[in-house]
């Protein structure tokens, strides 16, 4: 135990040290009895005491890396678990779409819209939601297809127009834009008979790499039935009114009936036009097709990204999220932490000064 300075003071003040050590200062018997009577501490509350006995500074050195490792492990697990999500989502979406398309016939909602989001960019080899041939439906598709270069853009645009015509459809509009240094783009609005839409979409998808797709099926059955009932009522009224006008009627009644008949005929004309428009809508699907030479942003590659890459990306997102939460907490709590630290150090300094003052008293 004796250190160098111990040896020094023991040599320098040898006699004084000897005298000091020979001072009678043993504890009196009363104190000894008092201490002996304490006995041995019981194990009551042992767990709590042991927890308190842990060296916290050293524990932090272990706990902090352990927390970081835990977070990284959680991120990796999250990434691995979610890496097969696109495939699952696609399968779920497919099932959902097919069920929705099949159920549309029993729908009580007059106009039903089913939108399938762009989060998934599946290859078009997957089955498409098919229109229900027993019901009037408005089928709309929006597709973004990537092609190799500007030459391909023109070729594919022409091919798309041919595909549509081959199915008895027509091209409602074409807009192609190309500029030097900019990605080229061609926007086509195509109308294809509903009965051929599925085949047409598969062929159109084959013209490049599908990077985005939306599908919408809106049920028109109830709208058509309402229009038909309205037309029938108008026709009945017109027939009755025409019949009534053939007989003898008071002048004012005749005049009123003639006006009503005129109005009913105008209504009938409008209702018939609306009905034809609805039927046209139901007969022809609308395909908005965009060809682009630009690479997909956050891109779905042809055939999808690798599982490992997705796992890493998910893990990275998880860690970034955790980091953002920690940063937020740090920013929010930093004033409190600074205050707490200042209070702690202030109190410590005060206690130290107070101790010095108390012990300096002669």
């Amino acid at each position: 135990m004796p250190a160098t300075d111990t040896v020094d003071f023991e040599r320098e003040f040898e006699e004084l040290v000897r005298e000091l050590r020979s001072l009678p200062a043993d504890a009196p018997e009363g104190v000894r009895e008092r201490v002996r009577s304490l006995g041995e501490p019981t194990g009551h509350g042992a767990a709590r005491e042991r927890l308190l006995a842990l060296p916290w500074r050293r524990s932090l050195l272990v706990l902090a890396p352990a927390c970081v490792l835990g977070l990284v492990a959680a991120a990796l697990v999250h990434g691995v678990v979610n890496s097969d999500r696109p495939a699952k989502q696609l399968a779920q979406a497919r099932t959902h779409r097919q069920a929705a398309a099949g159920d549309a016939g029993s729908s009580t909602v007059p106009e039903k819209s089913l939108n399938y989001g762009a989060a998934v960019a599946p290859p078009f080899a997957s089955p498409l939601p098919t229109p229900n041939p027993n019901r009037y439906q408005d089928y709309e598709a929006w597709m973004r297809v990537r092609v190799k270069d500007l030459d391909s853009l023109t070729d594919r645009t022409n091919e798309a127009m041919q595909v549509v015509r081959s199915y008895g459809g027509y091209v409602a509009s074409v807009e192609q834009s190309t500029a030097a240094g900019q990605p080229g783009q061609a926007d086509l609005v195509l109308r294809v008979p509903v009965i051929h839409v599925e085949d047409a979409l598969v062929r159109l998808a084959g013209l490049g790499t599908v990077v985005e797709r939306h599908l919408s099926i809106r049920d028109l059955e109830q709208a058509v039935q309402q229009q038909r009932r309205h037309i029938l009522q108008l026709k009945l009224f017109i027939a009755r009114a025409t019949e009534a006008l053939k007989g003898s009627l008071p002048a004012d009644v005749r005049l009123r009936l003639q006006l009503q008949l005129q109005e009913a005929r105008a209504d009938l004309s409008r209702a018939t036009s609306a009905n034809k428009a609805t039927l046209r809508e139901a007969a022809l699907s609308r395909i908005s097709l965009t060809f682009t030479t630009q690479k997909a942003v956050g891109g779905a590659k042809k055939g999808g990204t690798g599982r490992f890459e997705r796992a890493l990306r998910d893990a990275g997102s998880f860690l970034a999220g955790a980091g953002a939460v920690l940063l937020f907490l740090l920013i929010v709590l930093s004033p409190l932490i600074v205050l707490a630290m200042a209070a702690f150090w202030g109190r410590r300094a005060y206690r130290r000064r107070e101790e010095q003052r108390l012990l300096a008293r002669a």
Partner: protein
């Protein structure tokens, strides 16, 4: 320094063997009393504080970790804290009393003993007496003493040197 070689108990949570409280109390009682006697300079107060120190140690015995220091040092920390609490309460009491009895100052009389050395010790400040107690009487090494006192090792060494110097001067003055 007496070695604590009495009954030991294992500490399964930390995988450490350590002595029993009663064994530590038996072996360190005189050392703690000696330290408190020098620190307070009052026999009655030292006895009282010794008892209180061991009661506190008894309550927090589970927190004692032999890997972080000897039982003597751990007990000295508790004793010091107990003594400082006593000094604080004494100061508060004195201030209270001074408010009503102005000019009459009562101080805790030193009764270390009537010998020359005891008288000289009584003239030192508690801070000086405690460093002498820890370093000379209890034979605790410099760095550990500095940690107990909450000062640097250099300050501790200086304080000890000054205290011994003063003591020696007072002793030689008294002898001549």
């Amino acid at each position: 320094m007496k070695a604590v070689n009495a009954v030991t108990s294992s500490w399964p949570g930390l995988g450490v063997d350590r002595p029993s409280f009663s064994a530590v109390a038996e072996s360190e009682l005189d050392a703690v009393h000696r330290y408190l006697l020098l620190l307070t300079g009052n026999r009655a107060v030292a006895e009282d504080l010794t008892g209180e120190t061991f009661e506190r140690a008894f309550r927090s015995w589970r927190r004692f970790d032999p890997r972080r220091g000897t039982a003597r040092v751990w007990l000295c920390r508790i004793a010091r804290s107990t003594a400082l609490d006593h000094f604080r309460s004494e100061e508060r009491r004195r201030r209270r009393e001074e408010r009503y009895t102005r000019g009459v100052r009562e101080s805790e009389d030193s009764d270390l003993g009537s010998g020359v050395l005891e008288t000289a010790l009584a003239l030192l400040s508690p801070a000086e007496r405690e460093v002498v107690a820890l370093r000379v009487l209890l034979e605790i090494d410099g760095p550990t003493t500095a940690r107990v006192l909450g000062i640097s090792a250099t300050a501790c060494s200086t304080r000890l040197s000054r205290a011994l110097q003063r003591l020696e001067e007072m002793m030689s003055d008294a002898r001549h």
